[in-house]
Symmetry: C2
Subunit: 305 residues, 2 copies
């Protein structure tokens, strides 16, 4: 992964390396490679270059996210902006975006560059929408689905799509893998939202309850507001309007989302999407590559971090 | 220009429009169009789409710059981050970068997308270098030339190059126009640096003396340090190390750069580059398009804002 990200400027490499080599699940590169394999790619080293593209974009978005959100912990380490400040972090993020897109233009099929460019556009729109909604909460499931599509899913779906395009898949195959990525991505973000309440902070590598603190629109909250009533709903709305919460308030919200069934609703929704995504792969004949992609989809809902 | 920048999200359009429609010289689109015409393009409306790409990139870099530099005035208006805050401004910049690259992938010649991607990479490196040098001043002309190449010139040269590629210019023509853009870009930034000391603030549309305040490495300073001696040099170095300057100090620096000949040196250097750039265009036979490009080069050194 260090092959291309390197800039001539050590400072950029330091920041990029901080985020790129901090662990992370590397699910996007895996999706690109196995989508390509499922579309008949035998061995071609260049697929690993292709697979770097979504990981660089993901890292770039994390850098800008941390500036925007003010998150202090990322992948179990202090966030880049805590170490290098806003300025360097914004610019290193710009560099990684550019590097990813530059990599995407190295492939002869223009659809790869185009898909990546459109994805970056969606991602930046998603972040802006999220920012706007954090200021003026609109807890509506449709809005939520729209934001996570742009912010998270577009890139996951693009990872699958570029793999399929690279391998020379036909339109039906490309479209099936894009759709599989769509379902996987939406479910991925829902589980992410769930883990923000229910995971162990040490295991997750970032602080718990930050979505609530930032007023972020997430599915457990959307569902909780729908399901709660009377005094409980009033208190939840009050807490959502506050900046900063006590540990007691966070615990209260967590209990409420648990007892109202909001966590269960979120998980079931994600499971339904994963099932749909796996079903789509049945246009391909059985193979170990197909099993891997189905397995990655299961991992998304079973992961604990 | 509003044809493509539009996002589905009004907030992004508001920020993008703030910077895109604030005036500015629009020199990059002009260079792209006239480079294409010089390479034999007759009429093709798509060249105007092409010409938007560098202007979007430029606008995106201004948005991120303002976050990084903390500039309060831009194109005669309050800077975007003064109005919308760091977060929205970073993300709207991301959107414009993405939009520009997405536009670049709409052309069938992959060299256009590749040139643009490489340019964005250089631009982000240039900003990082500038940031690093603002913290640890290294007033060396070579370093200065390297920074402005990435920060400013790469995009100006790319504007010319993509015009030539779009019009189907041959390798010699593409390379001549890239080189012309290189000379023009370097001279452009030198004059920019000069105007930061000598222009009228109202006319320039941004505050005067900000480069000094930010400890930015610019050619007048590089030359001034080379040319000053004894107590004057000592005082200049002391002022450079300070954060924030009095009006008296700024006036003193300006006088010093004037009397030592640093301003003259900067202008002569820029004029030499412009001459070289115009000379390169002589591989093309005389035409009004060639005259326009030579005229734009003259404008760069004669402009007062």
């Amino acid at each position: 992964m260090s092959r291309y990200y390197a800039s001539n400027i050590p400072f950029i490499n330091e920041i990029s390396g901080h985020i790129l080599f901090a662990g992370g699940k590397k699910i996007r590169p895996l999706l690109a490679v196995f989508s390509a394999k499922l579309c008949g790619l035998n061995t071609d080293g260049k697929v690993y270059d292709l697979a770097l593209i979504p990981e660089y974009l993901h890292a770039a978005s994390l850098l800008h996210d941390d500036v925007v959100d003010g998150g202090k912990l990322r992948r179990g380490k202090p966030s880049a902006y805590e170490i290098w400040g806003n300025q360097g972090t914004v610019l290193a993020g710009d560099f990684l975006y550019a590097k990813a897109i530059e990599l995407a233009t190295r492939f002869s099929d223009i659809r790869i560059a185009r898909t990546i460019a459109e994805t970056v556009e969606l991602m930046s729109e998603g972040e802006v929408l999220q920012l706007l909604h954090a200021k003026e909460p609109n807890f509506d499931e449709k809005t939520y689905l729209d934001i996570i599509y742009r912010k998270t899913t577009a890139l996951i779906s693009a990872s699958c799509k570029i793999g399929a395009v690279f391998a020379g898949g036909d339109d039906k195959e490309i479209s099936a893998l894009s759709d599989y990525g769509f379902y996987l991505g939406q479910a991925f973000q829902m589980i992410d939202d769930l883990l923000d309440y229910t995971a162990d902070s040490g295991e997750l590598g970032k602080a718990i309850g930050t979505d609530l603190a930032e007023g972020k629109l997430t599915l457990p909250l959307v569902a909780g507001l729908e399901m709660a009533a009377g005094a409980e709903k009033e208190r939840l709305l009050l807490i959502l309007k506050k900046k900063g919460h006590t540990k007691e308030e966070l615990d209260w919200v967590r209990d409420l989302l648990d007892t109202t069934g909001a966590f269960r609703y979120t998980r079931q929704k994600a499971e339904g999407l994963i099932e749909a995504g796996c079903g789509i792969l049945d246009i391909f004949k059985p193979s170990w590559e197909r099993d891997v992609l189905k397995g990655l989809a299961r991992f998304v809902i079973e992961r604990r971090k």
